[in-house]
Symmetry: D2
Subunit: 427 residues, 4 copies
């Protein structure tokens, strides 16, 4: 490593992406522009079905939403993507796998960077930096409120630095769609993109750590299953023929209560949550349809599976109780993973060499979920090793809220840390 | 009719029975004593399986309770029955069919009188006449709180008067067990006891009418199904292994709410009620069993059947929702019936001749249930006719409450009315 | 009456309005055009606050929606209203009261016609006449699916015929906004618009009657209260801090079950219905807000009031149970009313004279609600008389469904009937 | 220590107590006999209000039950207590504090032994040793199913051995009533009985440990609050006047669901359980009363308090939702406590010296509750130290089940362990 990063490239990309957020599987502008830049730097690019198995995706937006987003990324305005890479991405195939390989033998180190935004209306409050400095979201209702814009920004600057002085072996950047909801990584794994990776690093900004700190091993991420349940009943006029109706809302209400009564599993962290319920239009029609979004989590995959099974039985039982039916779709699934201590040790060393404080993750960190675990498990199952690290950043507001904002001063040191770790692990 | 009844016999019997109440299918003392008295008067007696099909009974007490009650009726104390008639009644075969037939051709008129008491602790309040005058229940926890003691008393005095001057044709008194819960009449019908009845009268004291009034036709009695639902779950220590438990109480709670959400059926009177729920013993064991008593009613049999079917589905759905099962037993079933206007007209005429006011039943009367409807429907289906009449009585407290008491002064006029109606209908 | 109506004017207006539906309190085009036409015919026009007390309205759309609709009615296209009458209607003051008074003393007869459409996407199915004949709704998501377009059409043609040969006395046409939801009439009553009316007629097309039949008195319309309940909880990350959240959806679910357990009131038709529930956005945020639309009905105002009070207590109790609060807003309120037999008799005579069959309303008719009852009660309370009549029309689909359509051949006879009834009642 | 204990005295007492179990606050025979024996050995005895503050008791049986039990312990049969000590115990003041003090200065070491049985019908299955060997419970419906009989047996034998060779300082045995439900220790603390204790040992047999093992420090016992909630509604005939009723069972059902939806507290073990619900008698009466037994637990007192507060709010909210009220009574309360490592170390050394294996308690042990924590906290707050130890015993069936039985061969070594620990800690 020559000179410390100023983080300028990372910050510029981060701001551009922040202004143009794209939710899961619609990252057409982001993914194609990133692919274009990395191709220009000499990296080998795989995208479309070469980077992702479309049939393995969960929670894919409907065709109309995909088409609308794809169309919006065409053209040559600021809102457009890179048309060299857009075509294979059509229909939500927005993964990018970029590899730098100058032909010298060595280890294969991969870094995961996630690209998707959230369906949140960004703040316009005084003091909200993106708003005040002109890079607030230009897509109302979508927002980078988790820091993925920073992840991509750091990855681009890292790539520039690695290209300038390529290490022996191979480096791959896994640019993943749809991390939110736990949907993208699991679809990339079957495309074989990490099958020959020796070391995998997955990094996340923020999550409770202060600026200039690093947690080299965030273990105990919760397994997480996201479900969409659509209750079907029978419509009827609520005054003239209430006995002919079967209220999908009554079923959904009973189901909401039921799944929240899931008992604790001693010694485990578990969660069940109904996050959204939408049904009916007017007061005088018995509603024949209600849509519920819910999720389960546990610190052990088998426990999460048992909870999911019990939740499904409860949803079905509640529907039957009220004379209806329910369709249940898995829209996301994240497993647990545990990192390898030797990789964490290397990352910690790199962090210290970069001048960052190494800290132990708090319990709160441990109850988040990230589908990078799908990459971690695959790498480990084929003999490789992995760690999930957190790069601290003071936040203007919590993750997933309208006032979220990163401390951009951590991007430069973050790039340095990643570069050092990658080079060390390849040595 | 010679002279008006003083009601002395009716009152004496009523007080004796009031002091010795017996709940449904345990009317050993009552039924055997009544059979003995009517036999002594020269009436032909059928009892045991000649009067009732044991397999057609619903809600039969368990063997131990039946044995205990039967044993209590043996011996020769005040508490004992008439041992000439006890043996065939063993096991809850406590119906008595008594017929007066002096061999002259004529019509066959039948009167229903029900014999069973309720599981209620009788009042000991100041002013409660049975308590103050020494004929309060001697069987703690059982009580004649609906007036059946008066029904039997009037039937005995009526029998005496008819025996003294027998009409042409036949008169039958149907002494029915287990009217409460709707269990006894339906078991007597298949024994053929009303198959050749030309006219059936079913009379009830009280039910909202003032003393010295009569409603000659109480139509629109509700169909009524009584259910016992036993929820089964899985026990577990609530602190050490809550995840291994399946709470029968959670299932029963969800079911309680669910069945009460039954929508109205426009144009119909309908009811669903969970009257009792019992489950669990201590706070730290997940309860594996809960017993629910519930009922459905409707003013039309088909509607009641639909409601019962939906209730059963709801109970099963709720059990499944919470990982358990439910057993559902019908413990009572009463249908609707509509009387015949010509019989009501005859009864009304008899009432006026007796000096009683004939009134139109109130809406409240119409939502009661009485399994005399099983007799009515059978008689009508074979070409006979029927009416359900109410004999007014000022009450000291509502039916089915600890302070219930009849106005005994109505018993004499009641006997007169019945005698006059029977004789008129046989003429 | 000279010659029978061909219904041409009524049909032409009906089709124009059908193509330009406007939901409650946004009837800017409809109301202003109707006011313009009636003014041109010489009727005296009151609108804006002269016809309606803005503060007495319930369920008013928000300012933005009102402004958008008002703006859409400006200009001079097909979509525009009559700018002579638009200004006072701004902000949803869309009632019109038109009176024909040629100065000769006589009775004051009023006819109610309602103008609002429903928030329904109209059918594009083959065979749907408005679609095939080119007068399907041009405002996607709004539709005349209840026949109000026909009511206004008949009123216009009636006005033309009355203007051509004015009767002695006064005739008023009450063009009411927001009948759906029971919101408009109650706001017109305090403006005094029916205070000196001697006879009020409220007519509705369809509601279960065949073409060429008339029910001259539809009594027993149900009282109806519409509520919007907004449950407030506390948001939290469902995995990281579930204990800090208070789920508005759990509260709303418990409330949904609770209000549906309202017991029957013997002898009454009653209804409680939760028609819509919307809360939350994603599965991993504890939802802090849920909006419920619900309604109560009863065939007696006092019973409906008791039910509303119990519903409100249940909503508040459920909110408290789950650590939240609830705001409850009445968005509609309709009372019961009973017509006057002499007016019904006059209408029936007019119907027969018009060649229509007079029928008795079915039970189903009796459980609908219409806020014309507010006018009826006011008229009756000041010594006048009223009836609610139904003009039969074969329907292509039920009221309030996308495939609803009138039989336009009934419009001409309907105008004749109304003209005859008005003239007879004024004579 | 001279010779190892044979456990004969412990076993004899254990069997006698096993045959005469007494539930919480009715331990008249047990407590008085123990007091008598210890007095005979020369120990100083405090009992009645000297050992317990009656007003600080929770979950006290009603007066009738207390009187019945007290009377049963009078007389001079096998079922009788020791009449020297019975009088002050009347009314449930069944604590005994016995102290051996020969006047030589030294430390004050106390041992807690609990005396109460459980409301369980003991097994009569083949192979159930107490049944086969003739010491099954003679009080049907009460049973020593947790091992407290063994605790007292060991305490008596320990007392004999200490009396034979008294150590310097003081030894106190705290014979506690009503450990089950967490009710007795908290009532003894305010009587000052542990205020000058230097070292407190609380021992429990079984709880998951094999025979001949010892866990010297069972920490993380859960705080535990037991509640009785009585829901009040309004009775009504379910068919004739359902609208006048307010079902206490509907309220209790909603409450049952509500309290079970308590969310997890990340990083904590928490529990909420409704263990019993009883309401109503027959299907046709709206139940006006329902009694619920429930409990909360947490591994931190403050968390348990927050959960209790939320549970209470939920119970009250549910009652209000259904138009009723609820009375909530705390019937038990246990806090958490953490032992002192130096005492655990001493116990572990004593165990090894006795030939027992020292093991680490499993997670399951950690989620039990024991109100010995009240003694521990008091001792620690006054500068003393404590530990909660478990003496392993293979069990014939789980704690709190009808087939529970101890391995009596552990009683002798248990006495040895306790003697050695007491003497070592006093040295």
């Amino acid at each position: 490593m020559a000179t410390p990063s100023t983080g300028r490239t990372a910050t510029a990309w981060r701001r551009d992406l922040h202004a143009h957020p794209e939710v899961g599987f619609t990252e057409f502008r982001t993914a194609s522009r990133v692919a274009g830049r990395l191709a220009d730097l000499g990296w080998d690019i795989r995208t479309g079905t070469a980077a992702l198995d479309p049939g393995a995706r969960l929670g894919v937006p409907d065709d109309e939403a995909l088409d609308r987003a794809f169309t919006a990324a065409a053209g040559d305005t600021d809102r457009a993507g890179d048309d060299r890479f857009l075509p294979p991405m059509r229909g939500g195939r927005t993964a990018v796998v970029a590899t730098l390989d100058i032909g010298r033998p060595g280890r294969h180190v991969a870094l995961r960077a996630d690209m998707d935004a959230l369906p949140i209306v960004e703040s316009t409050a005084a003091g909200h930096v993106p708003h005040e400095q002109g890079f607030r979201s230009t897509r109302e209702g979508e927002m980078h409120a988790c820091g993925h814009d920073g992840h991509v920004g750091m990855a681009i600057e890292l790539a520039e630095r690695l290209s300038a002085d390529p290490p022996d072996g191979r480096v791959t950047i896994l640019l993943q769609p749809a991390e939110e909801g736990g949907r993208g990584a699991a679809a990339m794994v079957p495309a074989g993109v990490v099958d020959d990776v020796d070391v995998l690093l997955a990094a996340h900004l923020g999550i409770g750590l202060e600026s200039r700190t690093v947690a080299a091993a965030v273990d105990g991420l919760l397994a997480n299953t996201k479900l969409r349940a659509i209750f079907h009943g029978r419509a009827a006029h609520a005054a003239m023929a209430p006995h002919e109706g079967r209220s999908a809302l009554l079923a959904a209400a009973a189901a909401t209560l039921a799944v929240h009564t899931m008992p604790p599993f001693p010694g485990h962290e578990t969660r069940v949550a109904v996050g959204a319920l939408h049904g009916g239009t007017v007061s005088n029609i018995v509603p024949d349809r209600a849509t519920m979004l819910l999720e389960t989590r546990a610190d052990e995959g088998e426990v999460n599976e048992e909870i999911e099974a019990r939740v499904r039985a409860a949803l079905e039982g509640a529907a039957a109780t009220y004379g209806g039916t329910v369709e249940i779709e898995r829209t996301g699934a994240v497993t647990t993973a545990t990192g390898d201590p030797e990789i964490a040790t290397a990352v910690a060393a790199a962090a210290r060499a970069t001048g960052l404080d190494v800290v132990t993750p708090t319990a709160e960190l441990g109850v988040a979920s990230d589908d990078a675990t799908a990459f971690m498990r695959r790498v480990q199952s084929r003999g490789g090793r992995a760690t999930y690290l957190a790069v601290g950043s003071d936040l203007a507001g919590p993750h997933h809220t309208p006032g979220f904002d990163l401390d951009e001063s951590v991007l430069g040191p973050g790039v340095d840390l990643l570069e050092r770790a990658v080079r060390d692990l390849m040595a």
